[in-house]
């Protein structure tokens, strides 16, 4: 039986269990509902939970282990020569699962032993499905009956049910921790495997990046160098340009909107700038390639500068546009948090508005602004789609914004999109880059939060 109908069936069974449990509690109460510890519904939920949780646990465990066990059983029956080498075996297993799924396998004639194995796989799968369904139903009915017989007036059904609810709440809140652990582990494990093949110093200090590894000795251009310095500089160059665009514009818009603009203008202008934050990054990437790159190239021609169409300037500028609202809304918050009394004091001793802003408001808001800029920088470093679509692929160690550079995120995408073999340094390198990216953004965020917290002025 397929899992989905099985789950639906279990759902139906549990609603039946709810009904039975509720009725039984009323029967046990013998007319006087006040002798019951909990409301009748809680007895119903109690039985329903007993009826559904054990089979669902069984189902999860079964589905997690089923493919591995079946594969093992099938492999044990294969002819000896197929099992001898690890590589051959994995290919054979791949073929078998493909046949089972009903896909075409390369080549017309399939080895009869593989065909037989696939047949057996299918048979075992069917067997496993049926036994799972039967076992799950037995579990459901068994534990449901147990719970049903357990119902007595003094049974603390509500406490039991609430215990389950609390457990679910706590489990949900730990998902965030597990996600972080998952990220760290997945990136770290693969990165360590990478550093076993390529020394870590070569990766961090190497000046040449060309991850193509030669399959044959005579192949051209496959040196397999993994020096990530050009990627780091490229990322910093593009992010730097982005911040050069976003910080002045974002900061000045925030100042103008919070200090100068009338309410009317503010209610219109703020959402319009926020729109920039809601636009998907892939749209910015297309915009960069469609509008900004030709524009910059043409203006370069007009000034007699040769600008690559994948220049760092294009990617940086568009990325800057993307983070304008980020900077402006953060700056807006901290500027608004500066109390009016400070401004009034400044006006009182005769300062103009801009003097007040520059010499009173901004210094008071500075920690928040710096924190916001650091957060924007971490956003820029981790941004992927804009650079994938608008920046180059070749690693160039240059500080010239008119040339094409590549970034960490671009390389992760190019290394991992398309066909890939695991264990090759090329694939593992992506995870090493991911580790660097994760640590860099994490570091920036921690520093930013620290600055904001430590230097924040406390106003009454």
């Amino acid at each position: 039986m397929q899992p989905v109908p099985l789950v639906l069936l279990l759902l139906v069974l549990s609603s039946l269990a709810f009904y039975l449990g509720r009725r039984r509690s009323l029967l046990v109460a013998n007319g006087g509902i006040r002798v019951l510890h909990s409301l009748p519904d809680y007895y119903g939920y109690y039985v329903a939970l007993w009826c559904s949780i054990p089979p669902l646990l069984l189902l999860t465990a079964w589905l997690a282990f089923e493919p591995a066990i079946i594969t093992k059983l099938v492999v044990a029956e294969l002819p000896r020569e197929m099992r001898e080498s690890e590589q051959r075996l994995s290919l054979v297993v791949n073929d078998i699962t493909n046949i089972v799924k009903g896909d075409e396998v390369g080549g017309q004639d399939v080895d009869p032993s593989i065909q037989a194995a696939a047949e057996r796989y299918r048979h075992l799968q069917g067997l496993s499905g049926t036994s799972l369904a039967l076992l799950a139903l037995v579990f459901a009915i068994g534990s449901g009956t147990y719970a049903l017989r357990n119902i007595r007036p003094e049974l603390r059904a509500r406490n039991r049910v609430e215990g389950v609810i609390r457990f679910f709440l706590i489990a949900s809140s730990t998902i965030a921790i597990f996600t972080t652990i998952g990220i760290v582990l997945s990136v770290l494990v693969e990165a360590i495997r990478f550093f076993q093949k390529i020394p870590i110093t070569d990766f961090i200090f190497g000046l040449k990046w060309s991850p193509q590894i030669a399959m044959r000795a005579d192949q051209v251009g496959g040196s397999g160098a993994f020096g990530a310095v050009p990627l780091f500089t490229g990322t910093l160059l593009i992010s730097g340009i982005a911040l050069l665009v976003a910080v002045p514009i974002g900061l000045m818009s925030a100042i103008f909107l919070s200090e100068y603009a009338s309410r009317h203008i503010r209610t219109i202008a703020k959402p319009v700038i926020e729109v920039l934050a809601g636009i998907p990054t892939v749209v910015y990437g297309f915009f960069a390639a469609l509008v900004v790159a030709p524009l910059i190239r043409d203006s370069g021609v007009a000034f007699g500068v040769n600008i690559s169409s994948e220049s760092a300037l294009t990617a940086g500028m568009v990325m800057g546009i993307m983070i304008i609202p980020f900077v402006s809304s953060l700056a807006d918050d901290v500027i608004n948090a500066v109390p009016q009394a400070l401004r009034d004091g400044s006006y009182g001793i005769g300062a103009t508005k801009s003097e007040t802003i520059r010499q009173v408001v901004i210094p008071a808001a500075l920690p928040g602004i710096v924190g916001g800029i650091l957060l924007a920088a971490s956003r820029a470093i981790g941004e992927t789609m804009i650079v994938v679509m608008a920046a180059g692929l070749t690693a160039n160690l240059t500080a010239n914004p008119f040339e094409a550079v590549t970034t960490v995120t671009v390389q992760i995408v190019t290394l991992l999109v398309g066909d890939q073999e695991f264990d090759s340094p090329k694939t593992l390198a992506a995870f090493a880059l991911g580790l660097v990216l994760f640590l860099a953004t994490l570091g920036l965020n921690i520093i930013a939060l620290h600055i904001v917290r430590k230097y924040r002025e406390q106003y009454e």
């Binding site: 990220i183 892939v282 990437g285 789609m385 991992l416 953004t441």
Partner: protein, 441 residues
């Protein structure tokens, strides 16, 4: 900003008070100029942001709206029984296997009796899309009674013809206009004059999956892929996010454990999306062996990404419910769980839903993690479930943006427009929800 009156000569040198005011006055013009400049820079910054927004939208709308129309050619097809179904049994198999490509080519050739040379004939049939034959076949298989009749059919033209009609290629360019020979351009002009060639509503774009041929490519497959992905995301991240928020806001005491959880949530919100893609690749695909390129894996990864958004929004919504509600419920004897689930959560629900919708809108536009888990494959079929290989709308945009054909450019823009329409819709639902159900206490 009146100019300060300066009275030179009326300043005795031994009066310091006058001296200060004079310094101030002397500096006023400069200070006011500075003030004006500062204000101007502020206005400039806002204007630049506005220009960017305007430029972005006009450039995308300007190229995207053209994809709504597609050049089509009217053919007066003679559904010849001899040609399509020589045995006359109307068997579906025979009907499906007939030579429709030959039929449409023949029909077009009949419109140009003067074209006889073989290479010319081939050039003539190149005006039609390869999809034209499928279009006619679909008509016949769905309605076999057509056989033996004559009917005029609008079939899709090749994308080179489309680009010429839309004026994106130089008509008289040397060596042919955008892949068209001068002869072909002349034929196209003849067809236009006879009213046999015109731009019509591009139904293909909204109903089909991806294709290598721009004129046959549609976004429906990507829309369906995005739908299934978001379905998985919503079903995972909403219950889990709300439950986590309830625990942290209503039950948890402040201790190192809950501090750790909060720090983790804040950090997850700042992790670059591509790192979540790496997580999906390493854990769900390589470790758990889940199928590549499927909405279920994409949905799980996006759910982990949107979780912080939903938790933060849900906590804010729970915080907004006044303590008196809780006190009242506890006072009449409700348990803690009953208080929360019967009284607090229903009041916070609009805020939670708003947060969920905003999180979904963000997940809809996310591309990078989907690239990592292989949802970038070329998939022409429309997915029908969470385990079918699929792409998503943003990934489709990325794929088309990479395609060299000029005709894909307007389709990319049109796909962006569709994506933006969905996002605007979701966000306006969130705004309406907030406006309508938000309660002020």
């Amino acid at each position: 900003m009146s100019k300060p009156v300066q009275t030179p000569g009326a300043r005795p040198e031994n009066a310091p008070r006058r001296k200060t005011i004079d310094t101030v006055r002397a500096g006023l013009a400069r200070r006011y100029a500075r003030e004006r400049r500062f204000r101007f820079f502020g206005l400039l910054a806002v204007t630049i942001s506005f220009i960017f927004v305007a430029l972005l939208f006009t450039s995308i709308i300007a190229t995207g709206h053209q994809a709504i129309w597609q050049t089509q050619i009217r053919l007066d097809v003679n559904f010849d029984a001899q040609f399509l179904d020589p045995e006359g049994k109307r068997e579906p198999k025979v009907l499906a296997a007939a030579d429709y490509s030959g039929l449409v080519k023949k029909t077009l050739a009949e419109a140009f009796p003067e074209v006889t040379a073989r290479p010319d004939k081939r050039m003539l049939s190149d005006l039609l899309s390869t999809g034209a034959a499928f279009q006619v076949r679909e008509m016949v298989t769905s309605d076999p009674d057509l056989i033996g009749k004559k009917q005029s059919v609008w079939v899709t033209a090749n994308d080179t013809v489309d680009m010429l009609i839309k004026g994106h290629v130089e008509r008289n360019a040397e060596g042919g206009a955008g892949g068209l020979q001068q002869k072909q351009v002349a034929w196209i002009d003849q067809l236009v004059q006879k009213g046999q060639l015109e731009k019509r509503f591009n139904k293909t774009f909204f109903t089909r999956g991806d294709s290598r041929e721009p004129e046959l490519a549609g976004i429906w497959g990507a829309v369906a892929g995005s739908f299934y992905t978001l379905l998985v995301t919503l079903m995972l991240s909403f219950p889990v996010g709300v439950a986590a928020a309830i625990y942290l806001e209503e039950f948890a005491k402040t201790n190192p454990w809950t501090d750790l959880i909060e720090v983790n949530i804040n950090n997850l919100a700042a992790v670059p999306s591509i790192v979540f893609g790496l997580l999906g690749l390493a854990v769900f695909i390589n470790f758990f062996g889940m199928p590549r390129s499927t909405p279920i894996v994409g949905g799980i990864v996006l759910a982990l990404m949107t979780l912080p958004v939903i938790i933060v929004a849900s906590r804010a919504a729970l915080k907004a419910v006044p303590p008196s509600i809780r006190d009242g419920a506890l006072g009449v004897g409700a348990s803690k769980v009953q208080t929360v689930f019967h009284h607090v959560v229903p009041l916070a629900m609009p805020g939670m839903l708003t947060g969920a919708i905003i999180g979904m809108a963000r997940a809809l536009g996310e591309t990078a993690p989907l690239l990592m888990i292989g949802m970038v494959a070329f998939i022409a079929d429309i997915p029908h479930g969470v385990v079918d290989p699929a792409t998503g709308l943003p990934v489709q945009i990325y794929l088309w943006a990479d395609s060299p054909e000029r005709a894909f450019m307007e389709r990319t823009s049109a796909a962006i427009l569709v994506l933006l329409v969905f996002m605007v819709l979701m966000n306006s639902v969130a705004v309406v929800l907030r406006k309508r159900f938000e309660r002020r206490w």
